[in-house]
């Protein structure tokens, strides 16, 4: 059902919103054009494909770690943040998957080794220690995602993937801002309170 609304959303996008004028020097060598100077839709270059891989891997991790944090944390703000990550990134992953299917890009469907390790490390922690480490990792992951989205907007070729990046960027910036604030608060608390107390 959700996938359907997302598909509709894409179809209803006004044509000009997709108008992107990339540098053709970065197109895939076998690109076909619709009109002169305009690549036909759903053709990807190396940046689109790597972007889809990395952002999907990141999105899967957001959902997995978000579930972990929502279950494990006792801090309301961290829990709310984690819930939001599960919701927003589930949506974003589905959106990107729909585009990737059209553009025939296979995507990862399980956690990458880096995030596997991160999850294993986080599972060993509890209380304030867990919250702080989870939020720290969230800040870094969102910083990296922001740069990836901007990269795709600049150098991608597939207009739909680029449109996805444009729509997702303001949301990820919001997440980053939230994560930075919560992390700063937790670090402050850690300085004035013993670990494990609340």
């Amino acid at each position: 059902m959700r996938a359907l609304t997302i598909m509709l959303g894409l179809v209803l996008l006004p044509g000009h919103a997709l108008a992107q004028f990339g540098n053709p020097a970065g197109w895939a060598p076998d690109s076909r054009t619709d009109a002169p100077g305009k690549p036909a839709p759903n053709q990807t270059n190396y940046q689109d494909r790597l972007f889809a891989q990395l952002v999907t891997a990141g999105g899967l991790a957001e959902v997995e770690l978000g579930r972990l944090a929502a279950g494990k944390s006792t801090n309301d703000e961290v829990k709310a943040f984690a819930d939001r990550m599960v919701g927003d990134h589930t949506d974003a992953n589905a959106k990107l998957k729909a585009i990737a299917d059209k553009s025939r890009m296979p995507l990862p469907d399980r956690l990458d080794p880096d995030h596997e390790k991160m999850r294993a490390d986080l599972e060993k922690l509890d209380g304030a220690r867990f919250d702080l480490e989870y939020m720290k990792a969230q800040v870094i992951d969102h910083q990296k995602t922001v740069q990836l989205l901007v990269w795709e907007i600049g150098l991608g070729q597939d207009a739909e993937v680029q449109q996805f990046a444009k729509e997702t960027l303001p949301k990820v910036l919001e997440h980053l801002e939230m994560a930075r604030q919560i992390q700063a608060q937790l670090a402050d608390d850690a300085r004035v309170r013993p670990a494990g107390t609340k």
């Binding site: 004028f21 053709p24 002169p36 100077g37 880096d114 990296k144 990836l148 990269w151 600049g154 960027l169």
Partner: protein
């Protein structure tokens, strides 16, 4: 008291964070480095040429949505008397809003209701993905005629109407010869004419500096590789192709200081007038001498902040004592245009200034708070960078014409001497007239100036 004990904790956590956060791949290489072309030059060119009308139409639509681009000359001419200053506020207000209404709102309210005029936001390059230097038609024509050198790109054209750019060619005033006035002869300095025009006026050292500043070097969009944006393998670009007659012709580029590409903001060429009094150079780099800036600009291919790409296209390494010093010495004798109404302290002479201009000066020094950064005794700068925090007023991360607007961060305070000669304004040229800059700073600084005070301030800026 027990607080002390907990100071140890952040260190312990920091160490743990390393194991958690550090395990990861870096971002892809071309988030920082420039990718090599993946298509043959002929295919890139054909596609770029085909896309150009659409690119320019899109930019035109953006400009028209943001600004009133009409030709409305004021009675005041620029310093060379070759072009009129344009008057009036050109940034368009959102439907149903007024300047006073906006100035009365909090930044938060303006942001939440999406009311910041789009013309106050960062201005995109005509083609963000490719970026690079774009020259105005006048410069392309003149260099084509005089040097048979091609400055025309096949992927983009210049985007602003000519009446909104500086007079061309700009006059040249020398600190070494105030008595001569404009020494440009009303012509553009080029590698062909500079010796004839300047012999007898400059020293041998300055002449050699001038020669180098006019010597084109193949670089970036104008080079011989498949990574160029000009039809024929190029003879290159000279420093004074952007800094026409040591001023500016409004040629634009992208900032060298930011990556990834889509986030690099537009840069409007700055004037080189009054460089002798400036302690920091570049809107973001804060380089500490004209020599450093000159050497570096040549080294990293005119504004891409990319020595790697520059090296591939043929690098020019000017010799510091023998070439850079001379180029710098030439730039350092370029004066601001005369401002007859200013005294030696940079204050208006009441015997010459009008009531309105004097009132404008009062606003500038007082309620408008302009002089806190634009200090009259320091050529109306403070040799510092300031963060105006415009993102208080709008949501960051929006993409316009493939350009992602992020906070500008600290930017150098530009001089206001001779300011009527150098539209468009701000580091990216986002404001077309001085009246626009007054509305901009009134909002950003929260000074709540009246209509009368704003008009007086504009009149005052025209005397500088």
């Amino acid at each position: 008291m027990p607080r002390l004990i907990w100071y140890g904790l952040p260190c312990a956590l920091g160490a743990a964070a390393l194991t958690l956060a550090h395990a990861g791949d870096p971002l892809p290489p071309d988030t920082t480095y420039r990718p090599l072309p993946a298509l043959p030059f002929s295919a890139v060119r054909a596609n770029d040429e085909a896309a150009r009308p659409g690119v320019m139409q899109r930019q035109r639509a953006l400009l028209e949505q943001r600004y009133d681009l009409a030709d409305r000359p004021a009675a005041v001419m620029m310093s060379g008397g070759r072009k009129a200053v344009q008057e009036g506020v050109r940034v368009k207000l959102p439907e149903g809003e007024t300047w006073d209404g906006l100035a009365a709102m909090s930044p938060q309210e303006i942001r939440d209701r999406d009311l910041l005029p789009d013309g106050f936001k960062p201005l995109p390059h005509t083609k963000q993905a490719a970026g690079g230097q774009v020259f105005p038609e006048e410069q392309i024509t003149e260099i084509g005629r005089d040097e048979a050198r091609d400055l025309r790109r096949f992927d983009v054209d210049f985007d602003l109407p000519a009446h909104l750019t500086p007079e061309f060619p700009p006059p040249i005033f020398l600190t070494t010869h105030p008595e001569l006035g404009d020494v440009s002869r009303g012509d553009l300095l080029t590698i062909r004419n500079f010796y004839e025009y300047m012999n007898g006026i400059v020293t041998p050292v300055q002449m050699e500096g001038l020669r180098l500043l006019l010597t084109p070097f193949p670089q970036e969009e104008f080079n011989q590789t498949e990574d160029r944006k000009v039809a024929q393998p190029s003879l290159g670009v000279a420093c004074l192709d952007c800094h026409s007659n040591f001023h500016t012709n409004a040629a634009f580029h992208l900032t060298p200081d930011i990556r990834p590409q889509a986030e690099r903001f537009r840069l409007d060429t700055t004037s080189l007038r009054g460089l002798f009094n400036q302690q920091i150079h570049g809107s973001k780099r804060s380089l500490r001498s004209v020599e450093d800036f000159t050497e570096f600009e040549q080294r990293t291919a005119y504004f891409n902040g990319d020595h790697v790409s520059a090296t591939r296209k043929g690098v020019h390494l000017p010799d510091r004592p023998n070439q850079v010093a001379m180029m710098a010495q030439m730039q350092n004798i370029i004066d601001f245009p005369p401002a007859p109404k200013l005294d030696v302290f940079g204050r208006l002479d009441p015997a010459q200034a009008s009531e309105q201009e004097l009132m404008g000066e009062q606003v500038f020094m007082g309620k408008g708070r302009c002089a806190e950064c634009h200090v009259p005794a320091l050529s109306f700068m403070d040799n510092a960078m300031h963060d105006l925090k415009l993102e208080r007023f709008y949501k960051i991360g929006e993409t316009t014409n493939d350009f992602v607007a992020m906070p500008d961060g600290p930017i150098k305070t530009f001089t206001l001497r001779g300011i009527k000669d150098s539209p468009p304004y701000m580091h990216d040229g986002r404001l077309m007239t001085l009246a626009d800059t007054v509305e901009f700073f009134n909002l950003v600084l929260g000074t709540r100036l009246t209509g009368e005070e704003k008009e007086a301030l504009v009149a005052y800026l025209l005397t500088l």
